[in-house]
């Protein structure tokens, strides 16, 4: 896992734009967005639906490409990568978690985590050992052999977090990780993310839960209509662990 000192630039977006066609209508999801993030930071992106939060996350995650601008992670320029390069970026550089968990329903928790490790080139023994350790670290020691349908929302999200951490990424991308969870479970997941951050994992999170975000984030960036409207520093509850 990442142990790089804070205050080194991890992520840089320079004048990034992304436009979609929604039928015949052109939607400017992101317009000239420029921001950066340091190693070890948790940055939360907030804003109304359609403000461009998820688009930004998808661009950083290498699931999508900007129309204009540049994205750099540890000085690797994503915009110059080919499709295979982006796949390697998703495999090793970032880990993604989603509102709807996106676990493969036919696979157990252990197998879902193992799959990411398999893409990372680990052999069967390593996969099992690492997946078990990761699932233990997110509190799912007894639920490893359960399929997503047999797990609660919070448990599913923990599996997703364990999977996202499988190949030791330097940046965790969380797209509304608490969006489908009740308030208590949301708080547990946010706490887990805070704890991971304390262990050195940088996190870029999209959320609607501003209050929750304030508790764990170093900064909160507000987007509106594809542009950064506001940015504020937070006092972190988890700063001292």
């Amino acid at each position: 896992m990442n142990t790089t000192e804070k205050n080194e630039t991890l992520l840089q977006l320079v004048r990034c734009s992304r436009t979609y066609m929604k039928g015949a209508v052109r939607v400017h999801a992101l317009q000239d967005v420029t921001f950066s993030m340091q190693e070890g930071e948790i940055v939360s992106l907030i804003g109304r639906s359609g403000s461009g939060k998820s688009t930004l996350l998808n661009l950083v995650g290498g699931l999508d490409r900007p129309d204009h601008g540049e994205i750099r992670i540890r000085n690797e320029n994503l915009t110059q990568m080919n499709r295979n390069g982006l796949a390697m970026h998703r495999r090793f550089t970032v880990g993604m978690i989603f509102q709807s968990f996106n676990l493969i329903p036919s696979r157990t928790a252990l197998e879902n985590v193992s799959l990411a490790l398999a893409f990372g080139g680990r052999n069967r023994t390593e996969r099992r050992a690492i997946a078990e350790r990761l699932l233990e670290s997110v509190g799912l020691r007894d639920r490893m052999d359960h399929k997503p349908g047999e797990l609660s929302g919070g448990e599913c999200q923990r599996v997703a977090i364990a999977r996202a951490l499988a190949n030791s990424p330097c940046l965790l991308l969380a797209d509304e990780p608490t969006g489908n969870l009740d308030s208590r479970t949301s708080a547990e997941i946010l706490e887990l993310l805070g704890r991971l951050n304390n262990q050195g994992v940088s996190i870029l999170m999209v959320t609607h839960d501003e209050a929750g975000a304030e508790k764990i984030s170093h900064r909160i960036i507000q987007l509106l209509d594809g542009k950064i409207m506001d940015e504020k520093q937070c006092r972190r509850d988890h700063e001292t662990g």
Binding site: N58, G61, L63, D64, R83, N84, A87, M88, R90, R91, F92, M96, F98, N102, L103, I104, S106, L115, A116, A118, F119, G120, G121, N123, R163, A164, A166, N167
Partner: protein
């Protein structure tokens, strides 16, 4: 990701949709089954025909005639071709010519071809055949070196005869062979006698030859005028002992070159009979001329056929060899096999469409899963490989089980056909033959066709947009 892991994921995916996988694979199984049974029928037919020639060693034999007979031209009604035969004075095939042939390198034996129609009778049961005369030296060669019972003649004289199993059958004698020993119940013999082959050795066979009846010939115009026209031939009977029995082989090996009854050359020459040996003799009036009507030249290896054939043709004789016909036969069989193969291939193409359909459906169902795999780092090549392996596995399973189905179909079809063959002809025929190349080729073909069918679905899966796929329900 390591290839074995990709294969495992592919197998898991197939296992998850068992019913659909089985139904899709069934299409391939039927396609390959059809292909294998069709092609094996073609190969079996070809094998039956060519192996009959090999079994009787006919590829090393040539038939020499004194004149150039362009059979194709003659058959197509070309009068000049026939006129050449009838009026052109040929170089005679004399004993000295035979000695010249014998001197060519590679030639093992040369003897005149003597055949004439006879009436055969054993225990009062009669049949008609062309009696063939062979020198004792032929006992060294197939099929006479391995008779079912008895031995070939050791001298060119004597009243011995070799009869074929089939000819005996025509005279209501059924030999106790392995096939018949267990399978034919006595009540289904339909008047046949079932005997051990060895018990026939030494038994007397009566041969009736025809000679021209001079008395009848002189009275011919009178009989004609009186409306009492009779054939001016008289039959003379001779007695021979059965010296050996020749097995009727598997397949369709009764071309006209193989005679069912063989007697020693010297004996044949001394038998009174009509003076001609075949229809050409009648047409050309050969019986008045010097020399033999045709001569058999045998070489020790097929490689010598061409050189000896050329040498004999240079001497002004006409040569016919089965080798000449073999390449034409092979071409014919190739077309036959291709026709049969095409039917099987059509079935396989239908199966391939089934694979494409199944896999495209599978992509629609698994769009989100593909998106997830891409989100956690799966590359396009890996996604493509997973789908390829799935298609390949369907092909491999389809190929293996299709081969088994094809084999089963050929066994059943052969058994059903042989019920008729045993009853009507008295021996079994293997109509189908599945060589190793067909086994391996069918599996490989199945896998290749399935992989081709997988190209489009795999490419489509690899091209899935992960952002859209993750939103997919």
């Amino acid at each position: 990701m390591k290839p074995d892991e990709l294969a495992r994921i592919a197998l898991e995916n197939l296992w998850r949709t068992k019913l659909r996988t089985v139904l899709t694979t069934m299409g391939v199984i039927i396609g390959i089954g059809a292909l294998v049974s069709m092609v094996s029928f073609g190969i079996g037919t070809q094998k039956n025909v060519t192996s009959a020639f090999y079994e009787n060693d006919l590829f090393t034999s040539m038939f020499v005639t004194p004149v150039e007979i362009d059979v194709n031209r003659a058959i197509s009604g070309d009068v000049e071709a026939l006129a050449g035969v009838l009026y052109k004075p040929p170089s005679p095939l004399t004993d000295s010519t035979l000695s010249e042939f014998q001197a060519f390198p590679g030639v093992e034996i040369v003897f005149p071809e003597i055949r004439f129609p006879v009436k055969l009778s054993l225990n009062g049961n009669e049949t008609q055949t062309n009696l063939r005369a062979l020198p004792a030296g032929m006992g060294k060669y197939k099929p006479y070196n391995d008779l079912m019972a008895g031995h070939f003649f050791e001298a060119d004289t004597g009243r011995s005869i070799i009869l074929s199993q089939e000819l005996l059958r025509q005279m209501k004698v059924l030999l106790k062979t392995k096939q018949l020993r267990h399978r034919t119940p006595e009540d289904s013999l339909r008047g046949m006698r079932l005997v051990e082959p060895d018990s026939l050795l030494g038994r007397l066979v009566t041969i009736g030859t025809s000679v021209v009846d001079l008395e009848q010939m002189t009275g011919l115009p009178m009989m004609f005028m009186q409306g009492r026209m009779r054939v001016p031939f008289r039959e003379i009977e001779h007695h021979f002992h059965i010296a050996g029995i020749q097995e009727t082989g598997q397949g369709f090996d009764r071309p006209s070159m193989i005679s069912g009854a063989v007697i020693p050359m010297g004996t044949a020459e001394s038998l009174p009979r009509t003076g001609f040996n075949n229809i050409w003799d009648v047409l050309s009036g050969k019986h008045d001329r010097e020399g033999y009507s045709s001569v058999v030249v045998r070489v020790n290896h097929v490689n010598h056929v061409e050189a000896v054939q050329d040498s004999i043709e240079t001497m002004g004789y006409s040569v016919f060899s089965i080798m000449d016909q073999l390449s034409d036969m092979k071409k014919g069989f190739l077309i036959f096999d291709m026709g049969l193969g095409a039917v099987g291939t059509i079935a396989l193409i239908v199966a391939a469409l089934g694979i494409i359909n199944t896999m495209v459906m599978s992509i629609l169902e698994r769009t989100r899963e593909i998106g997830i795999m891409k989100a956690i780092g799966g590359s396009e090549a890996e996604i493509r490989t997973i789908f390829f392996v799935e298609a390949g596995m369907i092909g491999l399973m389809g190929g293996l089980f299709g081969l088994a189905l094809g084999w089963l179909v050929t066994k059943i079809a052969n058994a059903v056909a042989n019920v008729y063959f045993i009853r009507e002809i008295g021996f079994t025929v293997h109509f189908f033959y599945i060589p190793l190349w067909l086994v391996l080729g069918a599996i490989a073909f199945s896998v290749v066709v399935s992989l081709l069918a997988g190209i489009y679905p795999a490419a489509r899966a690899a091209a899935v947009n992960p952002v859209d796929a993750l939103r997919h329900d």
